[in-house]
Amino acid sequence: MRELTYKDALHEALDQIMAEDDRVFLLGEDIGVYGGAFGVTGDLQEKYGKDRVVDTPISEAAITGACVGAALTGMHPVGEIMFSDFVTLSMEQLVLQASRIRFMFGGKATVPMVLRLPGGSGTGASGQHSGSYESWFIHVPGLKVVMPSTPYDAKGLLLAAIEDPNPVMFFEHKLLYRTKGPVPEEMYTIPIGKSQVVREGKDLTIIATSVMVMRSLEAAQKLAEEGIEVEIIDPRTLNPLDMEPIIASIIKTGKALVVHEAVKTGGFGAEVAGRIVESEAFAYLDAPIRRLAGLDMPIPYNRNLEYHAVPQVENIVEESRKIVQGVY
């Protein structure tokens, strides 16, 4: 199959859906001539005009609210928050408006909007431009939270998110933009709310998101050399979370490790661990569930400090090894 970068896969998804569906339009800061801070929207303004690829002032609350209002009146807006960190400025519109308008109005309104959120560390962007905020939004009923880790998933999930009648938070990782992978040319969707087993193994179940899926796969190779076979599951959608493959896997392996970049305390890992313990898999656990996550701190600037603030391949290898060897 043809290979595309994660970034180009997203661009292609937007291009294809805009050509097909007049209701879809884009808005965000510097997404027009500039092509988006990370180049995702690229030439789309040239192609679809300024009315459908709308460059906005630096007004995250209004960008988000504009998505809500447009969605309420029949459009399918795709907003871009330049750095996911800036979603902090959109919180009211997301948490008190987008997520619950439908419910408050007795299920009689729909808010089919997508907010694209480039996030994550590893670029030296320091404390206000490197965060991972996905777990904040899994705590908001009414929002869906999607976090693709491959170009294939990026395209399929973005198209699914745009089709979805609910507000969808679409977390992209800056380090993934340049990663390549097979992407079909035609339009396709990947169902929201379906976890995927990306590697099979018998000794340990790793549940990893976004860039941590790549790092876990790399760690898995090293562990395999030691005779440790890990199974890796990428939930892809954090909310609604598909636990079924995770539970099945843990029943097989008896051990679980959740890996994410966002800080550990109150993170997605806690949610996954909680659900595992509540599930049938509980009786099959033969070790404590472990979480490997970002340190409870802002992302530092210094390259080495930044590297150590979030899980890396060697941390995953070591933690996996310890779990399998029964250290915990």
Binding site: G254, A283, D286, A287, G326
Partner: protein, 439 residues
């Protein structure tokens, strides 16, 4: 090859040990792991174990000598070996201490090296652990029990176990308090429960009278214990059972008995079964194989190990090329080997190279049983007694027939049920048509 016995270093800061007692004498045969000497370190009395099976020779230090750690203290020789000259005399050693090191009085604790290690790792004061070994010696099991008890005590009598271990214990119906945990802080893991379950028949009842006689697990008993544990843990056992109509075999044996009365010619069922099994093995080579890493090695010859019960356990002398031998020859060979086994006259070659094992407990009145595979073999056939049973005849009317139940245990990693069943069927066909057997 001669193997040197060195003064072990038991502790991090330990430099020397005093030899308290030689537990074996020169010329005595020792098994690997047998304690051969008691030595003392600062606080503990420890045992030096034989690093190899063989004959103890070349003891260099007498009791009371203080020896630097890592120095050679004796040598283990294999039969026929002589003591290398350099191993004959004590090494010169300087102990640059004013006083010879003596064990401190009052706090002497005795423990096995493994136990000591475990105590160190867990940071436990050895004096707080109750030893169950000879003379109150602390064993590995004691430390495990202590750790598990400790974690139990910490939480008001609750047992630390993983959910998987609890589920397994529930399924097998085994009490978690009777299991020592191998996990952190003595937590019981699923594998601990499974191990305990595999020993459940030998499980020691919770209250043991102090005066109960104790037989040390050593020598052959110990080897059997280790081998069987290893096999039971590592090999997924596939077991299949089959009833065999022995009418033909019984008739044949009676016929032979009539023909050869007075002559020194034997005809045993074991031999008949051995022959049937050996010939079936040539047609089912996977049962006559050995698992070597990722490969199944199909063995070129069929050598049948025939289990013989002896006083300290079980010996399995080997009948070579059993598939090529007649029943008389097999009967005689097996009888000879059994006598050698019981009179302790087997030579190592008699015990080597079996590719398959037959264990017949029929003569003990056992109707059927399941045996544990003797690795690296792939199968073992457990043979029961011949019992008269009413069986249906061709018209489904009851007819009394001599029936023998054989049970095959096979390594499931190597063979599947259908293959193993075909093998058993093959043996059955052989035995049920024993009239056609080459005598």
């Amino acid at each position: 090859m001669a193997k040197e016995v060195i003064m072990p270093k038991f502790g991090f800061t330990q430099e020397e040990s005093e030899i308290i007692e030689w537990l074996k004498k020169e010329g005595e045969t020792v098994e690997k792991g047998d304690p051969i000497a008691t030595v003392s370190t600062d606080k503990l009395s420890m045992e030096v174990e034989a690093p190899e099976r063989g004959i103890l020779a070349g003891i260099r230090y007498k009791e009371g000598d203080v020896v630097l750690v890592t120095k050679i203290i004796a040598t283990i020789l294999q039969p026929g070996e002589v003591l290398p000259k350099k191993n004959a005399e004590p090494e010169t050693q300087k102990i640059e201490k004013d006083e010879p090191s003596k064990p401190e009085k009052g706090i002497e604790v005795s423990a096995t090296p493994v136990a000591l290690h475990m105590l160190k790792d867990a940071g436990i004061d050895a004096t707080t652990v109750q030893g169950s070994g000879a003379g109150g010696k602390i064993t590995k099991a004691d430390v495990k029990a202590y750790l598990s008890q400790k974690s139990t005590d910490r939480h008001g009598g609750k047992v630390a176990a993983t959910p998987a271990a609890r589920r397994a214990a529930d399924e097998i119906d085994i009490d978690l308090t009777s299991i020592a945990g191998s996990g952190p802080l003595g937590r019981i893991q699923e594998k601990d429960v499974k191990a305990a379950a595999s020993h459940i028949v030998q499980a020691i009842p919770p209250t043991i009278p102090a005066e109960a006689p104790r037989i040390p697990l050593k020598g052959m008993r110990r080897i059997i214990a280790e081998k069987m544990t290893c096999s039971a843990h590592e090999i997924p056992h596939l077991t299949l059972q089959m009833d065999i109509d022995m009418s033909d075999a019984v008739a044949l044996r009676e016929q032979v008995a009539r023909q050869v009365t007075g002559k020194d010619i034997k005809f045993t069922y074991t031999a008949l079964i051995t022959q049937a099994a050996a010939r079936a093995l040539t047609r089912h080579p996977k049962l006559n194989s050995s698992l070597d890493g990722d490969e199944i090695v199909l063995l070129p010859c069929v050598h049948i190990g025939v289990a013989v019960a002896v006083e300290e356990g079980l010996m399995v002398p080997v009948v070579r090329d059993a598939d090529k031998k007649g029943v008389y020859q097999l009967s005689n060979e097996i009888a000879t080997l059994a006598v050698k086994a019981r009179t302790n006259k087997l030579i190592p070659q008699d015990l080597e190279g079996a590719t398959f094992t037959i264990s017949n407990l029929g003569m003990y009145g056992i109707d059927r049983f399941t045996a544990i595979i003797n690795p690296p073999q792939t199968g073992i056939l457990a043979v029961g007694n011949i019992v008269e049973k009413f069986m249906p005849d061709a018209k489904r009317n009851p007819i009394l027939k001599p029936i023998m139940t054989i049970t095959l245990s096979a390594d499931h990693r190597v063979v599947d049920g259908a293959e193993a069943a075909e093998f058993l069927q093959d043996i059955k066909t052989g035995l049920e048509n024993a009239g056609a057997t080459t005598v």
